[in-house]
Amino acid sequence: MSATNIDDPRIVEFDVRTDEMLINMGPQHPSTHGVLRLALRTDGEIVADLEPHIGYLHRCAEKIGENLTARQFVPYTDRMDYLAAMNMNLGWSLTIEKLLDHDVPEKGRHLRVLIGEMNRVASHLVAMGTYGLDLGAFSPFLYAFREREKILDLFEKACGARLTYSYIAPGGATADLPGGWTAECSEFINQFKKIIPEFHTLLTTNAIFIARTAGIGVLSPRMAIDYGCTGPVLRGSGVYHDLRFHGEERYTELYDGYEFDVICMDSETGKYPDSHQGVYKDGLSYPEVPSDAILGDCWHRFYVRMLEVVQSVRLIEQSIAKYDACSGSHGEPIKLTQKLPLGEAYLETEAPRGQMGFYVVSDGQSNPWRVRARSSCFSNLYVTAPLCRGVLLADVPAVVGSLDVVMGEIDR
């Protein structure tokens, strides 16, 4: 509209426009989970557009993989999803074992399930706690970390490290669990089960929490699949897909003989699986889905994680029994300079944040010729832009937090 038409007040009225504000959220913003940078264009408090910028934590892990042997690369996988380092170790180890066509003994298999699920619990606890922080609730964060500390104590007893474990290695694990570890672990699980309802009281069923998350950032199942979302983000949209069920043979056979459910709302009944009896708490059932919640919103993504914790507790209980029943070796790791056969291998595993895939190409040397990591958070992060268009500024941390991205895994 040109300035010459100013005589007509109605035209002036419609021509008056406010500017959009360009504002940087991150990489030092308190709620961008590390070094994520979001370039926001806002109209007042309403987010008009958003673009995630990544790369602040890029450490050339894939290139480093070409200069190290398969066994030497394990510590670098720790630093990808540093909140679920055991699962990263597991993914890499399984990929190398697939290339080598190497099988771990029965005891090693149960050890991997046990350790992997313990780390899933720890990882989901962080996700839950920091999500509370994103919404302004501070205390659940500390309750979650208190429980996580106990898991880390157990990990420290098993492998000496509290964050970057390098415990599971191609061929098995660096050491067997120390004596009495499984007893301590069951003790932890028993007291942890009683604490899960507290989290539901503080967050899941809290009226303000529901008001802040229900109906916000709705990710439709179609969109979740199109964007390549995986893990709790995908299942929070009601897509029944979990690699522990639907993955490759080499991965699913880890879970042979285990009973657990894929946590995903049945879109017909509107209910989540209720296989928690006796695990969650006697006589208590999961909180009901609030009427405001829409399948695929932030509340559902959060809730899926909370329920997956219960499923992991079930798996841990089973794996402790199975592990204790086994005897013999847990599986010695491969030699440091083990030569890889000519060829390539790709395997995706169900890490706490989604499907983590490792791709290894070998030319017959002990160093891989090419290493590639497929990160779940990378795909999950890119739904923030479509989800955040039109929401309020305060909802951006709510959406990003519900996707639970770890920048170490995205940037590698």
């Binding site: 007042g44 408090e45 302004g136 205390s139 809290n206 802040r212 309020l392 500024l393």
Partner: protein, 437 residues
Amino acid sequence: MAEFFNEYIFGNGPWSWLGYVVAALIACILVIHVVAVGAMGFIWLERKVAGRIQDRLGPTRVGGKFGWLQTLADGIKLIAKEDFTPDVADRFLFKIAPYVAFAASFSAFIALPFADGVVANHVNTAVFFVLAVLGLEVFGVILAGYGSGSKWSLFGAMREAAQVVSYEVPLGMCVVVPVFLCGTMNLTTIGNMQEGFITNWLVFNDPFTFVIAMVYFTCATASVNRAPFDLAEAESELVAGFHTEYSGLRWSLFFMAEYGSMFLVSGLAVILFFGGSNGPIPVGDWLANLLGGVKEGSIGANLPSLGAITVGVIGVANFILKGVIGVIVMIWIRWTFPRLRIDQVMSMCLKYCVPIAAFGFIGAVGWEVLDLPTPNNLDEKSRYEYHEKWSHEYLETQQQTKPAANDRHARQAVPTEAIITTVAVSQNAVEVNGGKQ
């Protein structure tokens, strides 16, 4: 106090203005120190309570086992920090904003009576004064956000401005109810009228005042920017909101202002709804009766009796205790709930609190008009007995009836007949003024 200085030091000659200056300075220093030390206590309390809520210990090192001096240590650290002003900031607004917030929060304490007579200045319209001055604190926040030259700070200021228009309406409506029930805006009088047993507290006057008290507390939490209404600083959204760019002493002034107003609004709640300086059981009055006459002069009068001092001390303790309980409730809420969104705060205040407050107001009025039963004995009391105890007219009449009218230090208690005359005279005066007070 000014008269005291003039009488003994400066004389009533040309230097008499010095007496007023010195008296004003002393009053200022007293208020600032009482409030600032109180604020430091509340910061310590917040950290300790938050620690316990979160399974931690909170501060344990500075100042012994309980970390009493942690806030002081932090204060010294903050004073020692660089006073940084961003390049793009509006320097004048940036520098003045913390003082606006701080001064507003602290000067509201001038009219807040800690007990009968324990108040810096007897303001007839104390309720109005406190709310008005407290409202000025918002300007500090808005100026800070606007002057910082940061977009995050600007968001904080915008939110504060949006929030203030939504909570002030129901807050005012809630405060009107006790004012109307007591027929005065004088906080001392409102407090005194609730004396006696816990049933006399206005919160128990009728169901509507109970609801009103709850709405008041919600809006008061919003008015001091406490979680879940801490949108202006919203750490996880706006970095630190309006005080993102502040550091050192200026930042700590905002902090002091926040904690000062926290006690102020809960103190106001105590006076308006929870009996003021009166405990649940009138222990103080019993003790005072044992120790000798009390009604003849409260602790604020010159050279009060032992009984009056006892009542005063117990009253201050009651008031502070109840105020601290209010503060602890706010701390408890802060560390339990997630934060609301700005549109939710506005809809909560305007869509829910305003109608509830209006309903409560009409209900409380109706209850009073229809003379429905209440557990208190407000009706049995002559309201004039509590009215205008500190007004100019009252003091004048009291002086006239005193045996030694010009002797300010008369140790003699006022005879009972004098009180009766006083009440009669003041009633007459009120009527002469056409009910104006």
